[in-house]
Subunit: 468 residues, 2 copies
Amino acid sequence: MENLNLTSTAEEMDQAYDESLEKILELIEEKKYFQCRDELLKHDEVEISEMLDDVRREYDLQKVVILFRTLPKDVSVEVFSYLDVDYQVDVINMITDPEIEFIIDELDFDDMIDVLEELPANVVDKILSKTTKAERKKINQFLKYKDDTAGSLMTPDYINLTKSWTVREALDHIKEVGLDSETIYSCYVIDRGRKLIGVVSLRALVICDDNLLVSDIMHDDPLCVNVDEDQEEVMDLFNRYGYLAIPVVDNEGRLVGIVTVDDILDVIEEETSEDIERMGGVISNDDKSYLDMSVWSHVKARFPWLLLLMCSYFVTGGIISSFENALSDMICLVTYMPLLMGTAGNSGTQSSTLVIRGMATGDIELDDFIKVAWKEIRVSVTVGLCLSVINTARIVFITHEPFLVAVTVCLSMIIAIMIAKLIGAMLPMIAKKIGIDPALMAGPLMASITDMLALGTYFLMAGIFLHI
Amino acid sequence: MENLNLTSTAEEMDQAYDESLEKILELIEEKKYFQCRDELLKHDEVEISEMLDDVRREYDLQKVVILFRTLPKDVSVEVFSYLDVDYQVDVINMITDPEIEFIIDELDFDDMIDVLEELPANVVDKILSKTTKAERKKINQFLKYKDDTAGSLMTPDYINLTKSWTVREALDHIKEVGLDSETIYSCYVIDRGRKLIGVVSLRALVICDDNLLVSDIMHDDPLCVNVDEDQEEVMDLFNRYGYLAIPVVDNEGRLVGIVTVDDILDVIEEETSEDIERMGGVISNDDKSYLDMSVWSHVKARFPWLLLLMCSYFVTGGIISSFENALSDMICLVTYMPLLMGTAGNSGTQSSTLVIRGMATGDIELDDFIKVAWKEIRVSVTVGLCLSVINTARIVFITHEPFLVAVTVCLSMIIAIMIAKLIGAMLPMIAKKIGIDPALMAGPLMASITDMLALGTYFLMAGIFLHI
């Protein structure tokens, strides 16, 4: 196994990372910053940025900036581009003007825009005053695109070709300008009015004969998105087509930028977190990570839902209290309340989870409403019957309560499961139809509604079978 | 706005899709298959595959195969590669041997392996008997890699270079073999023993001077993964580094394949669905979509959790029934049970959602245990106090119950929220520590545990303050 050190597996990398981090934290304690740097430079830029983040959590940003300054300039720009936008801004605020200028200059255009968007206006003005007029115009245009649109994701650093060029001419052009481009693997063909008319992959250019024309090998009528398109739609297209980049056009069909797949990976993470958090009853209000959020932001993210749901329990409590007399006559009914409410809630959550995810991945569409409902009805009857058999056995043979109690509980359970599964499946679809995020309809809200309905059904059944 | 038709926005594409689909479904009704084909061919391969999927849902697979056969051969192979693996297998089972041979021949290697893995052994043997011996050996090797590992995702169709070549020689080599390669944008440099020693991007090759050596411009000691690495780890690396491809090596460090970013998009979707479904109390047992799963598979996916949780409610019911006498003396206490259990459950779900997502995105690590616990305690006290104020006001001024009832309910609520938030946050971390998927610890299971604890706290407090 002597060769293992040639190939660093994920586990070995993690271990090496942890060891280095420990050493660095010690060296900082002793203020040996240049030894820190040597230790940092054993790792790649992504890992260095992660280490700096760990240093920030352990000490403070001051220390990060000190370390950051010890790094060679080209490395420090790379590292900077991997930091969270929040900390990029903090770092910018703590370093000198020439340093800022160097970083802004060297960053990819789309990364630079992300930083500028977060900086205070006076700092942005200071930075812009040092750029050329053309550059300034471009930056200002990009700063205008709304958050979460294709425009906010795109970069203007793409390669554009002219259709009358030969493959050789195109390759020469790429050689000349390729270094400043975000990607050179998809090249875009535009006409004189800057309208997008085709796309050529670098692969095609490299493989094809040098004397062919760009127009011979380009793909006409390429897939593109509008600058104002929502980032979720853009993400969808990447998922469906597996492309490395998608061109972005304005309302007149002019090419204004491209979105690359690496930026989409971030969008996927962001959108998934938002969905999961909404389903868990958390308001995702900013992009900060769990540990970086203050107690107060955590409270703001969680309190509103808890309050709203508490009010819903007042209603549930009201239902119970209107049956108070009946219940005190037959207190054993109370012991089955958690069972009924819980099972209904869980059944509904299962359905809403599946439907919300199905809609997110495109497996379920709004037209499938009837099909989904019919499936849920059949599933809930089957599940309800199976659970009822076990439950009846327990009530009759173990807790020795009257058979009619078992009938009441089990019939209520089957009905409650059916109602819950139907509501759990339908609510997200209705939400989507009227333009609300389906994820908001899952989780706690749905469970509260089914709680009430389960309880109502229970008391109704108890009235019929037990005459309470 | 006359130019709008040049640039097809997502919405317009959707509309065009729906119109075509409607027309196709009508044409199938009238058995006009060749007109169907013409309609299909107005769309790209991804959309055609989606339309065929819609046709399958509306009619049956037979119709899909008929349409599939009307397509030009090169289009049909592309379309085939975009179908779900399940339906690829169904289609294979319904078409003739020469058709199978053509499709298998033309598919990308990794797509072919995915199909072969799902086919019955005798069909695989038949297909293999028609390939060359070398090809057969390679296929057999790939079929051996375990599901959900780097090995199962990778393709052997990559470009490898020799470090002593010049850039010109490398580009000539790429021109020769590039057509059969999954990607040519990352090229791998191997030594005589096939050990991976470097990586060169096509970008570098195109931009650099033709006479430089590959060894001059290659990146030494590239990031790579072992064939047995879990796909989640591979996904993590793509997320962190934003690469287009990552090389895969065996235990001796020899290059055996590459994983490309488009395959990772599928992995992300799969892993996210699994997480979300587990958090919603659903066992994700196969890759079928919601509508394609039979009622029986839905029952199998949902029943086990519901049963397990029902048993937990038996315990909750037991706690209640041991306080039956006390409760019938003071039945108003029952009305607050949903409030306490529900609020505890929701609080716990919020915390577990945030912690599970934080661990999935790498924001929270196991070392942060104490920090997370401390944050949860502070958040829960704040949230609990705020809710209590509102709740006390309601109990005293609106429902006019004794002040001690308010004290009992509110104190129980604060304690229950704290317990629930701690459990909600800690359980997923403990699960990860002992190697269980944290997502299994969220959702229903956590809610059941907190239900019991909330109820226990409530009765304890009632005993102290109300002497029941």
